[in-house]
C-alpha cells in the first residue's frame, strides 16, 4: 500500500462524484484547448492568406478603417472609393507594378460571393495565375467570367455553366488553378464590365502594388502619397493589424474558456471540501495510525491533482475532437469573413497539449491546496471523534 494507491481507491469509491467532478474539469479544459487550437490555426491561416496576396503595398482611400483593411485580406467586397485615375498615377511611378481591384457582391446559389473587377492581363501577371480549365480573358471588356478554383469546387460549376450577376447571365470562360489565396473564392470579370454592371464607372476599390526594391518600401509609400491623396499600408502592417485583432478575439475566447476552468476549479474545491467533511473520521484513523499532517496534506493534494491530470488528458482529447468537428463549420460559415474559403485544419501542437495538461494540473492542485491544508490541520482527536 502506498499513498497513490490509497488516493486512487478513495477517488474511485465515490464513482458518481468522481465522474461529475472530472467532467467539470474535462469540459473546461476541452473548451480551452478547442479555442486555443482554433485560434492558433486562424492565425496561421490569416498569415498564409496575407503572404498569398502577393502585394507589398496596398493603396486605399484615406478614410478606411481597420475592418476595411481586413476585408482586403479576406477578399470581401469593399466600397468603390478610388477613382481609376489614382490607379493610373500609381502605376506610372517607376519601380511600382500595380493592379486595381473593384470588389462587389453577388450571390451564387443563394450564397454571397465576391465579384472582382480586374485588368485581365496585368492581374494574370501580377498574381502569376495559372488557368486550370478553359481560356483566360482575351480582351479588357469581355463579358465572361474567370472563376476561382474554390468557388468552382464548392458550387460544382464548370465551363458550360453561367452565373447571373445583376440580372445578366455571364458564361464561365475559365477556371483558375488553385492559388491558396482568396482568389480561390472570387469571381473575376474585366474591370470595365464590373464598373458597367454595378454602375460605378470610373471607380475602383483599392490598389495592390509590388515594388522593385523591398528595402525602399518607405520611399515608394511617399511617392504614392505624393501623386494621390490616399493611404498606403504595407502588407506587413496589414497583417499585424489583422493579427492583433485576431489576438483580441482569441484572448476573449480564451477568457471565456478560463472562466469555465475556474468554475471547474471551484467544483474540485467543493468536492474536496465535501470529501474532507465526509472523511473526517478516516483522517482521524490515519492520524491515529501514524500519518503526519503532511501525509494527510499529500493525500488530498494528490487526489485533486489526479482530477487535474485525468481532466487535462480527457479535456485535450475532447477539445481537439471538438475543434476538428467545428473547424470545417467555421470555414464554411458565410458569417465568418476572416476564414471564408480557408482550409482550417486542427493541428496537434504538442506545445498546446503539454501546456493544457500542465495548466489543468496546476489549477487542480491549487484548488486542492486549501482543502488539503484544512484536512492536515485537523487534530487526530477531533477527526476521530467525528460522528
Amino acid at each position: 500500500m502506498n499513498i497513490l494507491k490509497l488516493v486512487i481507491k478513495n477517488i474511485t469509491r465515490r464513482r458518481g462524484r468522481f465522474i461529475f467532478t472530472l467532467l467539470g474539469i474535462t469540459i473546461g479544459m476541452a473548451a480551452f484547448v478547442a479555442l486555443l487550437s482554433l485560434g492558433g490555426n486562424m492565425r496561421a491561416e490569416v498569415t498564409r492568406q496575407a503572404h498569398a496576396m502577393g502585394a507589398s503595398l496596398i493603396v486605399t482611400p484615406k478614410n478606411w478603417c481597420a475592418y476595411d483593411q481586413i476585408s482586403i485580406l479576406t477578399g470581401n467586397a469593399l466600397p468603390e472609393s478610388l477613382q481609376l485615375e489614382v490607379y493610373e498615377a500609381v502605376a506610372a511611378i517607376e519601380g511600382i507594378t500595380a493592379v486595381p481591384y473593384l470588389t462587389q457582391k453577388t450571390a451564387v446559389q443563394n450564397n454571397p460571393v465576391t465579384v472582382t473587377g480586374i485588368l485581365p492581363a496585368e492581374m494574370k501577371e501580377f498574381m502569376s495565375w495559372e488557368v486550370a480549365k478553359g481560356d483566360y480573358f482575351s480582351s479588357v471588356d469581355e463579358r465572361a467570367i474567370v472563376l476561382g478554383y474554390g468557388i468552382a469546387e464548392r458550387f460544382e460549376l464548370d465551363l458550360k455553366d453561367s452565373i447571373r450577376i445583376q440580372g445578366e447571365e455571364f458564361p464561365i470562360k475559365a477556371i483558375l488553378a488553385q492559388t491558396g489565396s482568396n482568389d480561390d473564392v472570387s469571381i473575376f470579370l474585366p474591370l470595365a464590365v464590373v464598373q458597367e454592371v454595378f454602375e460605378v464607372e470610373g471607380y475602383i476599390s483599392y490598389i495592390a502594388a509590388q515594388v522593385a526594391d523591398l528595402s525602399k518600401l518607405e520611399f515608394y509609400e511617399a511617392a504614392i502619397i505624393e501623386v494621390a491623396n490616399v493611404s498606403v499600408t504595407s502588407d506587413r502592417q496589414l497583417l499585424s493589424a489583422v493579427l492583433s485583432m485576431l489576438g483580441s478575439v482569441n484572448m476573449t475566447l480564451q477568457l471565456i474558456a478560463g472562466v469555465a476552468l475556474i468554475a471547474a476549479a471551484f467544483g474540485i474545491i467543493n468536492t474536496m471540501m465535501t470529501a474532507i467533511y465526509e472523511r473526517r473520521r478516516e483522517i482521524g484513523i490515519l492520524r491515529a495510525i501514524g500519518a503526519k499532517g503532511s501525509s494527510i496534506f499529500k493525500i488530498f493534494v494528490l487526489e485533486s491533482g489526479l482530477y487535474g491530470l485525468l481532466g487535462g488528458l480527457l479535456g485535450v482529447v475532447l477539445g481537439l475532437a471538438v475543434s476538428a468537428l467545428v473547424a470545417p463549420l467555421i470555414a464554411e460559415s458565410s458569417f465568418n469573413d476572416l476564414l471564408k474559403g480557408a482550409q482550417i485544419e486542427v493541428s496537434l501542437d504538442p506545445g498546446i497539449i503539454a501546456l493544457s495538461i500542465i495548466f489543468a494540473l496546476v489549477i487542480s492542485v491549487a484548488s486542492g491546496l486549501y482543502p488539503a491544508w484544512k484536512a492536515s490541520r485537523l487534530t487526530p482527536v477531533e477527526a476521530i471523534s467525528y460522528e
Binding site: 502506498n2 499513498i3 490509497l6 492520524r287 491515529a288 501514524g290 503526519k292 503532511s294 476521530i384
Partner: protein
Amino acid sequence: MRTEGLTKTYDKSSVATHALRGVSLEIPQGAFCCITGPSGHGKSTLLHLLGTLDKPTEGSVFIDGKNTSELNEGELATLRAEKIGFVFQFFNLLQSLTAVENIEVAMMFGKRSPKEQRAQAEKLLDMVGLLDKAHAKPSELSGGQQQRVSIARALANNPSILLMDEPTGNLDSESGEEVMSHIFKIHRMGKTVVIVTHNDELAQKAEILLEIYDGRLKSC
C-alpha cells in the same frame, strides 16, 4: 507509561468543561490495564491523551520515559506509528480498502516495502483467524470480524502499547468473547494493553483497574 497531573479542559463554549482533573498514574510495561467508569466522565479523554491523539491542558504523558508534551506533531505521529496501536469501538476501518489493505495502510508511513507489508498483513490476519477474508471489504465482514481486522491493524507495526476504546462495546456476546480471546493473546505476547471498557468480564481480568469518576481517578 505514566502520567503526571493530567488535566483536560474544554472551553469552547462559555462554560468550561473539565474532562480530566489532575490524573497521575503509571502503567508498567506489559501490564493489562482496564479503565472503567460512567459514560462522560473522562475515560476516552484519558485514552486519547495516553495515545497522544490529543494534548493535555496541563500535565504530561511519558512513554518509555519520554515526555510527549515536548514532541512536535511529526514526532508524535512517528511515536504513534511505532509504539502505539489503537482499536476503536466502531472498528474504524477504511471502507474503500479490503481487510488486508486496511492493515497495510498502517505500515504505509513506515519503511516496509509493499511485499513486506503484504506478508506482515497476511500473518496478522492469520493470527486473528481471518486470512480467508483478506480481500473482503469491511461491508462484507461482520462486526466481530471487522474488530479482529482492526486488532490486526493495531499490531501491524509491532507496537509495545495497545490502546482500546470499548473494543467489545459494539459486538454481540459471542463476537465479544472472540475479540477478548485475541486481546488476551496479545497481552500474552508481552504488550501493554490499556482498555476503556464497560465489560465487567474484561475488567475482572485486568491486572490494573482504574476507575474514572468526574475526571478524577477513583481507585487504583
